[in-house]
Symmetry: C2
Subunit: 190 residues, 2 copies
DNA sequence: ACCTGAACACCGTTCAAGT
DNA sequence: ACCTGAACACCGTTCAAGT
């Protein structure tokens, strides 16, 4: 159950800028995942240097902008209404939620996409959050003997990576359902 | 069984430039999938405009540069030694080959990656080639009653998309094997 | 017909100068 | 401490001028 680390005290204007950049970045990246950092800085009314001071790389900004969404998704894996479901249904339901998030936030898809690659530093944060959530759901099913024990959370994250390669403009739901059925079925013991 | 379309007669220097750009692009993109077009033009000894005359977009160049590799992969799907295998083994063996290609050519991975997204124009070409090859292997198994009939070639392409999100620097083979087992198992009838 | 390469608008990133 | 915004090196792309 990941928790936001205690914020270091910053000067008031720095805090306000940080918040404003994040707010603008979320909107801009949702509209266009390739939005330029300069344009985000300009829209936020700060100098380019200020953006770089707070977010040394593009990844830092993307990760921070979608932290909320990712945390919501991750928290859902530990929620009581997920715990009530049997392990297989819990996993499947959580993946459905994952698809929803990915399809409504274009920029979030980039972040999740990067999360399936094993790259250093910031991207690893989302990767870690997601694999921890998957591991939690996976272990429940493995202990109950309902899910295969020879697959890791990383394996599963890769296997459902198709979720953010679907076309949001298309009728993606039936395709997502077919493929999730295939994967979740493959995760069953025996 | 896709075939290269008959080349339109071009001036000799244009043909030579075309070939040289492609040669340089293959090497450059393999080394770094984000290699700049200007740097490729410079290395090829042509002006930037010449590169754009032959390849109006980056996608055109990437697709053309890896045409050979993709065609080799696609042709393998129709090869006699694949035809000798039972349908499930044929599919699995072909996916193994796909992983090999993806892991040794960084730029090819970008092209394949784009191929799983339904984007217009040039990228659709690789998508079409790959889905045709998959459809061929799929239909053999479906007619033999060994593979599920409710999945399309597009579904399968998405399902194995993890192959080009593996980390070439890591020990990816066991992970690819685990996940391919999972998918191919899910494709089996019943 | 085709090529060159300077030019344009833009990008990410840095850093002196300000408060 | 933190911010600004001009500056730098680079990118993709265009297009007048050449052959």
């Amino acid at each position: 159950m990941p928790e936001a680390q205690p914020e270091v005290k910053k000067r008031a204007d720095a805090q306000a800028n940080y918040a404003r950049i994040l707010e603008v970045a979320l909107a801009a990246l949702t509209a266009d995942p390739d939005a330029s950092l300069n344009s985000i800085a300009k829209t936020a009314g700060v100098g380019a240097g200020t953006l770089y001071r707070h977010f040394p790389t593009r990844d830092h900004l993307v990760v921070a902008a979608y932290r909320h969404e990712v945390e919501e998704l991750v928290d859902a894996a530990y929620s009581p209404w997920i715990a009530e479901l049997n392990p297989v249904a819990a996993l499947r339901t959580w993946f459905d939620r994952m698809a929803q998030y990915g399809m409504t936030k274009a920029g979030l898809m980039s972040a999740l996409d990067a999360a399936t690659k094993s790259v250093p530093f910031e991207r690893a944060e989302i990767h870690g959050l997601l694999t921890a959530a998957i591991a939690h759901l996976l272990e429940r099913g493995q202990q109950a003997g309902e899910l295969r024990a020879d697959l890791t959370a990383e394996d599963v994250l890769l296997a459902v990576g198709f979720l953010w390669r679907l076309d949001p403009a298309s009728d993606w739901r039936p395709q997502a359902a077919r493929l999730l059925d295939l994967v979740v079925d493959g995760l069953r013991a025996q």
